[in-house]
Structures are given as structure tokens and as C-alpha cells.
């Protein structure tokens, strides 16, 4: 009991000491504001004050001093504090107005997030009114070359944008005009990037890009050194701001091309292409990666690509659904490196693209046949036999189909249980003179028949996560159908899944997505046809590699 008492006294003493320390800090910051002679001197103390004030609340709470955090009093307390400052320092008015508005903005967000509805409904309109009024006052009291003007406009726009109200367009225009003015005069370009980031996060990508361009131009015109440029570009890549990163890399690449020649440029392009190429995890931009691959090709010819890079380029194109280009890239890889590590996969994928994307069985067949002849039991050999059997069955050449299927069973023996199960199902259909499984038949009809060209995979976004998986690991298959709204009357879509669905079979018709696992290695094909009450919407296909 005594120990507990001592502990409590000790905690209280620490909390009191911290509290006293914070009080001193607040007093010190208040004094700095009161003694400030120019508006430039306000920025630091106000920002510190805000940080200090809100972190103080957190310390109080952690220190065990009772605090009614649930009511979010810290916002109102801070506003009272700011208002008390206003009485002491006239020229700080615009800053005080801005910080009150900002606090109200955060307070409203917090009320909504924490669902503190009593305060939201009773005070929400007053807070919104104060926010709009005071940020406007801060704008009116400052010029466009003043950072406070930009911050206030940004806040006002954010507020209207969040509400999606009719003032948001005007607020955005005002913000952009001021930013352009500001950028002409200002040396500090951080604010421009800050505004661009905010606009980007609100999906105002066009406007954000305009600002990023100004920011980049400013950086370049500031005669930034190559090394610093590279660090900036890499920093933005790590932040996930790929647009900005790519713009800076482009400048860096151009500089390097002029100063260092191919020898210096090519390794950089190679590394960057690797960074930006498709991968299941981490930031990537396959389109930018392809741009870099192209530049490498133009600058140094295709000889500069080694096996790994050629595969990477083809895979990147495949994942960005540039299928015809991916097919060419896989075939180029095979031409240059017939014995490549990824030769079977590249051959198989080229044949799959011929079949399902280009409706060109004639060119696909010899590739599948060649793979099927392979010694041993490489997964792509089995998959090729299955595809050859499937196409023959679809063409009603059941003798040929049985031949392929039986060869597959013989080759696989006891392994590749999922693949052999599919084959046995197909053989049963032939033996019992049953039509091919409905979903599969529809998928093949739409994918292989020339007359169904209109179903060009543009109305369904089909994806897998991850695209490169391991045996027995969960793979998520997701489809999104591009249909427009129909209010409360939802259109009932049917999802006809087919081909390699792994352990999850059958997939219910109503499911637009599912998780599955694969027991066998190889490249898996997932087919989908989406049907609405008025007929087929589209079909699609993806490939997943199981290692």
C-alpha cells in the first residue's frame, strides 16, 4: 500500500513537473508572438504553439491527470487561448484567424470520426461558419505572396471540397491563382509541393501536376546538382509520389545523357526500369518502366538487354495488360535466349496470348505442341497438353482431345492433382457425350470465335493478388465490372468463372471475387465472363504464376 502511495506521488510529481514545463513553454511562445515585429516572425511560434498545445493534451492524458478527451475540449481550449492572444496582439489577427479556422476544421473531422454527434449537431454549423468566415478573413487580410494566404485558401478549399459544396470550385480557382502568384515571387517552394500533395490526395490530379511542374521547374532553375536531384527523385519514389519522382528522374536522365553518355546512362536506366516494373509489392508504374525500356532500346539497341531484363520487360507488359506487346517481348526473349530460365513460361504465355487474346489458335498450337513434347513433367508441358485438349474438345474433335488429355494423365502420374482433376472432368464429359462445362464453354466461345470480337476485355478489370504466388498460398481474384449507377435497383450480374480456379470450386455465380489456393506449380489461367439481364457484358482473363 505504501509502495503504491509512493508510486502515485512520484507519477503526480512527474506529471506536475511536465505540466509546469509545458506551461512555461506556452508562456514563452505567447511572449514570442506578442513581441513579434513582422508577420514573418509569427510562423514559427504559431506552428510550435499548435504542436505544443496538442501534444500537451496527450501528455496530460498519459500522465493520468483527468482530462475529458471524449469531449475534445482541447480544440475549444486552444481556440480560447488563441482568442486571448488576439486581444493582446492586433497584427497577429490573420494568423489567429487561420489557426482558429484550422482548429475548427480538425475538430469537425474529429467529431465525425469519433461520432460525437451531440456536439456535431448542436455546434457543427457554428463551427463550420466560424471556419469559413475566419479563413476568408485571413485571406482578405493577406496578399498572394504571403504563405498565410496560401494556407488559408488551402484550408478553405479543403473544407468546401470535403463538403462537396458549390463553393469548392471557386475556392480551388482562388487557391490556384494565388499559388501561381506566390510561385512567381517565392523562393521557398516547399509550400507549392505541400499544396500539390494535398490536391493530389484529393484526386485533383490535373491541378496537382500543374503545381508539381512549377515545383520541378523551380528546383531545376535553382541549379540543383545532379546528385541532389537524384536524391530528391528517389525520395519521392519512396514516398509513393511516382508522378513527381518520374518528372525528376526524367530531368536527371536528360542531364546524364548530355553529360555522361551511354556508359553512365544505361546502368541508371536499367536500375530505374527494375524499380518501376510491375511487382506484387511496393511502388511500381509499368507504363513508366516501359518508357525506360524503350529509351534503353533506342539509345543502345536491343543487345543491351540481358535475359533477366528481357523477361522483366515482357512480364511488365503482361501485367499492364499490353498483351500483344507482351507476346512479342516473350518471343524476343526466346529468340535471343532459347534456353532461358523462363523459356517454358515465356513460350506458354505467348501461346496463351495468341489463343485467348488474339483468337489465333493457328499460331498458338505449334508452341503448345512443342512444350507438350518436353521431357519430364515441366508444369507448362502439362498445361499445354490441357490447352491443346481443351481447344480440340471445343472444336468437337473429341478423339484428338482424348489423346491430349490421356497423354497428360500419363505424364503427370500421381503429381499435379488439381490439373489432372480438371482433365478427368473433361474426359468424363467426352465419354458421357455431355457438353463441356457451361462456364468454360461460354468463355471459350467468347474468346476464340472471331464473331465475338466485340468482347475485348475492356469492360471488366480482372486482377489477381499476388500474381506470383507459391503453392498453397492464398491468391485473391477480383473483378470489377464497369457499369454505371442504377440507384437502389442493382443490376444482378452473373460471374461465370472458368479454367484454373484452384481449390475453390465451383465459384457461386453471384461472386465478383474469391480467394483460392493452388496445389500445383505453373502458370494458371483464370477466365471470366460477366452476364447481365440484357446479355454478356464482356469476358476477361489473367495469368497467375505459382512457383
Amino acid at each position: 500500500m505504501r509502495a503504491l502511495k509512493i508510486s502515485l506521488i512520484f507519477i503526480f510529481a512527474i506529471a506536475s513537473a511536465l505540466y509546469a514545463q509545458d506551461e512555461n513553454k506556452l508562456a514563452d511562445l505567447s511572449r514570442q508572438i506578442i513581441e513579434a515585429k513582422t508577420s514573418a516572425e509569427f510562423y514559427g511560434p504559431f506552428e510550435e504553439l499548435k504542436e505544443e498545445y496538442f501534444s500537451r493534451s496527450a501528455i496530460q492524458s498519459e500522465g493520468g491527470i483527468p482530462q475529458d478527451a471524449g469531449k475534445d475540449n482541447k480544440y475549444s481550449d486552444f481556440i480560447d487561448f488563441l482568442k486571448s492572444l488576439s486581444a493582446k496582439k492586433d497584427i497577429a489577427g490573420p494568423f489567429i484567424n487561420y489557426y482558429i479556422a484550422l482548429t475548427r476544421y480538425n475538430q469537425l473531422k474529429s467529431l465525425e470520426e469519433k461520432q460525437l454527434w451531440d456536439e456535431y449537431f448542436s455546434k457543427g454549423n457554428d463551427y463550420r461558419d466560424e471556419l469559413a468566415r475566419l479563413s476568408q478573413k485571413a485571406i482578405d487580410a493577406t496578399m498572394a505572396d504571403d504563405a498565410l494566404n496560401i494556407y488559408s485558401r488551402l484550408l478553405l478549399w479543403q473544407f468546401h471540397k470535403d463538403q462537396q459544396d458549390s463553393s469548392s470550385e471557386g475556392a480551388l480557382q482562388g487557391l490556384m491563382n494565388s499559388l501561381l502568384e506566390y510561385s512567381k515571387a517565392a523562393n521557398d517552394v516547399k509550400l507549392i509541393k505541400e499544396a500539390a500533395d494535398k490536391l493530389y490526395s484529393y484526386a485533383e490530379k490535373g491541378k496537382a501536376k500543374e503545381l508539381y511542374k512549377i515545383y520541378v521547374d523551380k528546383i531545376i532553375s535553382s541549379e540543383i546538382k545532379d546528385e541532389a536531384l537524384l536524391v530528391s527523385a528517389s525520395g519521392f519514389y519512396k514516398e509513393g509520389n511516382l508522378d513527381l519522382s518520374e518528372t525528376l528522374y526524367d530531368v536527371y536522365i536528360d542531364r546524364l545523357a548530355k553529360s555522361g553518355g551511354k556508359e553512365k546512362l544505361l546502368p541508371v536506366l536499367k536500375e530505374l526500369a527494375k524499380d518501376f516494373s510491375y511487382k506484387d509489392q511496393g511502388f511500381n508504374d509499368p507504363a513508366y518502366a516501359e518508357k525506360l525500356f524503350k529509351r534503353m532500346e533506342e539509345d543502345a539497341g536491343s543487345d543491351v538487354f540481358d535475359e533477366e531484363l528481357m523477361y522483366m520487360r515482357a512480364f511488365n507488359l503482361e501485367k499492364s495488360k499490353e498483351y500483344p506487346k507482351a507476346k512479342e517481348a516473350y518471343l524476343d526473349l526466346l529468340k535471343r535466349y532459347p534456353g532461358a530460365q523462363y523459356a517454358d513460361e515465356a513460350n506458354f504465355k505467348a501461346a496463351v496470348i495468341y489463343t485467348y487474346i488474339l483468337r489465333d489458335i493457328k499460331n498458338a498450337r505449334p508452341i503448345f505442341e512443342a512444350l507438350a513434347q518436353k521431357e519430364g513433367i515441366p508444369p507448362q508441358a502439362l498445361s499445354s497438353l490441357y490447352q491443346l485438349g481443351l481447344v480440340s474438345q471445343w472444336e468437337n474433335d473429341f478423339v484428338k482431345a482424348k489423346e491430349y488429355y490421356n497423354k497428360l494423365l500419363e505424364k503427370a502420374g500421381a503429381s499435379f492433382a488439381q490439373t489432372t482433376a480438371m482433365v478427368k472432368e473433361r474426359l468424363k464429359e467426352i465419354e458421357e457425350s455431355r457438353p463441356m462445362e457451361y462456364n468454360l464453354r461460354v468463355f471459350l466461345d467468347l474468346s476464340l470465335k472471331e464473331e465475338n470480337k466485340e468482347f475485348d476485355m475492356t469492360k471488366i478489370a480482372l486482377s489477381a493478388s499476388p500474381y506470383e504466388s507459391n503453392k498453397e498460398k492464398t491468391v485473391n481474384i477480383t473483378s470489377t465490372v464497369y457499369t454505371t449507377t442504377s440507384g437502389c435497383m442493382e443490376i444482378q450480374l452473373q460471374y461465370l468463372w472458368s479454367e484454373d480456379l484452384g481449390a475453390k470450386q465451383p465459384i457461386p455465380l453471384a461472386l465478383p471475387a474469391f480467394d483460392t489456393t493452388y496445389a500445383d506449380k505453373g502458370t494458371k489461367i483464370i477466365g471470366l465472363v460477366v452476364v447481365s439481364p440484357s446479355g454478356v457484358v464482356d469476358r476477361s482473363m489473367v495469368m497467375v504464376d505459382v512457383n
Partner: protein
């Protein structure tokens, strides 16, 4: 002619000019039928106002379908001896609501007239009278079929003839989301012309032309029968209004069904650019059940509704930054309807089902519910229903939204940095 007579003539001439000027000023703006009891006025700034009895009228309304617990949509509430509209009208008036939207009048004209009279005379509540235009007829609405069209025309014109002189009528509304049968995959219908066309996109365009041309025929005839009330096109979202612009130019306003969550996005400006007609938000709102947490959440409903009404007010005529083409709205809906979730199972009409029927990510609080289904059809009421009876009716229990909107309508707060809009 003497000098005196010349001067008198000049005075008469000047007076006539003054009078003409006065008349011109009175008629400023484009008013198709200013003598009508209710009409739409286009202001000089391109904004629109609904004028009722010579005064601007903001539609502050709710969709009305007071089905008691245990009944379904076939229940004839118009003939209910307990007169639900009396209890509801009182609550509505106290809330500040001035309009209800009805999807289609009941079968008995006398009962319908009594409801219209009671609501108007006792509470000053006006009615937007709608017609389904056979949208739910089995197997589908054959808008391309002349017999079907004639049947619907007969019903609609009879409705207009019957109720046009009722003082409570605000305007007519044709259809609800019937455009989805042309341009989406809901209740799609065949026709000789459509069936000949193999291209699905062209099929849709043909259906839209047929449907909106039919709407225009109806509208023109209604204008003949009743020049005193405007005609609205009930439309799901803005879908197909580019066709309506060409094929239904006689429509006076659009009555759109919009479920976009917190606000209506760019709706008002989009409409202006597509089909320059005023709009009444004929169906919008939020349910009061959190599908994720599996419990009633009146605050969530009130939050969405208040925000939606704020945007409606921002886009009324003479608004500072808004499009100025909004005339108001009728939110969905006045009371809960317990039959809606499992509508073919009479047992479930007695239960307040918590199952959600559809998904809408704009209502983000409960979008993480199973299958993302978060829209609970039985929980949209501004007032909920109790199984306890009061004067023979399920007791009405106003939800939070009732009080929040009552407050909003009395003091609309728009936070647009300039002076607030008066009621």
C-alpha cells in the same frame, strides 16, 4: 391639333410607355405561363424558381407511403379509416415540411381527394402526384408497344383530370427510375424496332428515343388538360437526359432519384450542361441502420440528410455559388416500411428486417458490412414505426433526422462565407 391636345397626347404616350415598361418589368425572366397557379420561372441569371400562388416555393418534402407494420405495398392506405395522413401531417407541419411525394394515387378517387384536401387544408401540405407509367407491370413495361402506351396514357390523363383542381396538387411527376429500362439492365423491354438492331448500344438509344418521346406526348397532353401545374420527369440519376433533351423538350422540370451519400457531387452543374431544366431531388436520403455494427444509428442518417439538404439549399435560385437550378427535394422517406426486405414473405412484413438489400460506398460508415451491403430498405424513415398502436395506427417515433432537419429548415446554415440564405 391644338398644343394642349398635343401635350395631352404626349402625356398619354408617356403613360402608355411607362405602363408597358411596368408590365415588362413584372414579366422579367422567362415564365411560360405566369397566369398558372403553379409555374416555373426562369430568372435573368438563368436560375429557376417554382412559383406557387405568386410566391417562390422551396420544396421541403418527403416521399410518402405509410404502409403499416404487417402490410405490403398493396395495402390501400388511402382508405385507412385511421387516416394516417392526419397524424403524419401534423408531425410534418411541426417539422417544417411542406410537400409530400406520392408515387401513384390510390384506386379510389374520393379517398385520394380526401387525403389531398386534409393535408392541404389542415396543414398546408402540397402533393407531388406521380405515376409509375406501368414500370412494374409483368413481364415488363412495353414502351414500344402502342397498346401499352395508350393504356398508360389513359391512366395518366384520367389522374390529371381527376385531381387537377385539387388545391393541394403541386405538380405531376412521370415515372420514377423508368429510364433504367432503356439504358441499364433493369426491367428491359423488347420492341420490334429494338429487336431488329443487333448492336446493344444502338438498342439502348432506340429504347431511350421511344421512351422519352412517349414522355413528351404525355407531357404535351397534360399541359393541354391542366395548364396550372408543371410536369416533371422522374428519372434515375441523370442517366438518359441527353436523350430527354432531344425527345422530351416539353418537360418542365426533372425529378431525379439520387443516392450519392453526403452530397450530390457535380449533379447540379452536370444537369445544367446536359438538359437545362430545374430539378427537384425526388428521392435521396439515408437509412438509419448500421449494417456493419448491426444496430440502429439515427445519427448516421441525420448526418447524411443534413448534409444533403445543405447542398440542396446551396443550389436554390439566387444562391451565391450554386447552380441555381434546384427547387428543393423530397427525401426518402417519411415512415419506415417493414415489408420491403423480404417482400414475397408476408411473415417478414411483421418484422423490422435488418438485412441490407444493396451496396453503396458513398454511405461510408457501414460499408464494411458483409458483402458491402449497407443499404437497409426498411430503415429509411424520418419517423420509425412502433408496434404499439396509437389511435389505430402504428405509433410514429420521430428519429434524430426529424429534429435536425426541423432546426435546419428554420435556420438554414450554408457556411459559404457570405450572408445566410433566408427560408
Amino acid at each position: 391639333m391644338s398644343v394642349v391636345r398635343k401635350a395631352a397626347g404626349r402625356r398619354i404616350f408617356l403613360a402608355a410607355c411607362g405602363f408597358l415598361l411596368f408590365v415588362c418589368l413584372l414579366g422579367a425572366g422567362d415564365s411560360p405561363n405566369p397566369r398558372a397557379k403553379t409555374y416555373i420561372k426562369k430568372l435573368k441569371n438563368g436560375h429557376y424558381q417554382l412559383i406557387v400562388d405568386k410566391k417562390p416555393y422551396i420544396v421541403k418534402g418527403a416521399c410518402y407511403s405509410p404502409i403499416p407494420i404487417g402490410q405490403n405495398h398493396e395495402y390501400d392506405w388511402w382508405s385507412d379509416p385511421n387516416k394516417p395522413w392526419i397524424a403524419d401531417g401534423k408531425l410534418m407541419k411541426e417539422m417544417g415540411l411542406n410537400t409530400i411525394r406520392i408515387y401513384q394515387p390510390g384506386e379510389n378517387p374520393e379517398a385520394v381527394k380526401r387525403v389531398l384536401k386534409d393535408l392541404y387544408e389542415l396543414y398546408g401540405i402540397r402533393v407531388i402526384m406521380g405515376h409509375w407509367l406501368g414500370f412494374w407491370e409483368y413481364p415488363c413495361p412495353f414502351y414500344g408497344d402502342r397498346f401499352f402506351q395508350d393504356k398508360i396514357k389513359k391512366e395518366v390523363f384520367e389522374m390529371v383530370e381527376l385531381y387537377k383542381d385539387e388545391p393541394g396538387i403541386l405538380f405531376w411527376s412521370l415515372g420514377n427510375e423508368n429510364n433504367y429500362s432503356c439504358l441499364r439492365d433493369v426491367n428491359i423491354w423488347p420492341s420490334e424496332e429494338v429487336d431488329k438492331e443487333p448492336d446493344p448500344q444502338k438498342q439502348k438509344a432506340i429504347r431511350a428515343r421511344i421512351y422519352y418521346s412517349f414522355i413528351n406526348e404525355l407531357t404535351k397532353q397534360i399541359h393541354q388538360i391542366d395548364p396550372n401545374h408543371p410536369v416533371a420527369l422522374g428519372n434515375g440519376e441523370l442517366v438518359g437526359l441527353d436523350f430527354a433533351k432531344d425527345y422530351a423538350p416539353d418537360i418542365d422540370l426533372v425529378a431525379c432519384i439520387i443516392y450519392r451519400g453526403k452530397t450530390f457531387g457535380n449533379l447540379f452543374n452536370s444537369l445544367k450542361a446536359t438538359f437545362d431544366r430545374p430539378i427537384v431531388l425526388a428521392e435521396f436520403g439515408a437509412d438509419a441502420y448500421d449494417s456493419y455494427l448491426q444496430k440502429e444509428d439515427q445519427n448516421m442518417q441525420a448526418f447524411f440528410l443534413e448534409s444533403q439538404w445543405r447542398q440542396i439549399y446551396e443550389n436554390l435560385a439566387n444562391s451565391k455559388a450554386g447552380a441555381g437550378n434546384c427547387l428543393g427535394g423530397t427525401m426518402f422517406e417519411w415512415t419506415d416500411e417493414w415489408w420491403k426486405h423480404d417482400e414475397n414473405n408476408p411473415d417478414s412484413w411483421k418484422a423490422h428486417d435488418t438485412g441490407a438489400g444493396w451496396s453503396n460506398g458513398s454511405y461510408y460508415f457501414d460499408i464494411k458490412a458483409e458483402g458491402n451491403k449497407n443499404m437497409n430498405e426498411e430503415w429509411f424513415g424520418i419517423v420509425s414505426l412502433s408496434e404499439e398502436l396509437e389511435n389505430g395506427l402504428n405509433k410514429r417515433l420521430p428519429r434524430k433526422a426529424y429534429y435536425v432537419l426541423r432546426e435546419f429548415w428554420s435556420k438554414p446554415a450554408l457556411n459559404n462565407t457570405k450572408k445566410r440564405v433566408k427560408k
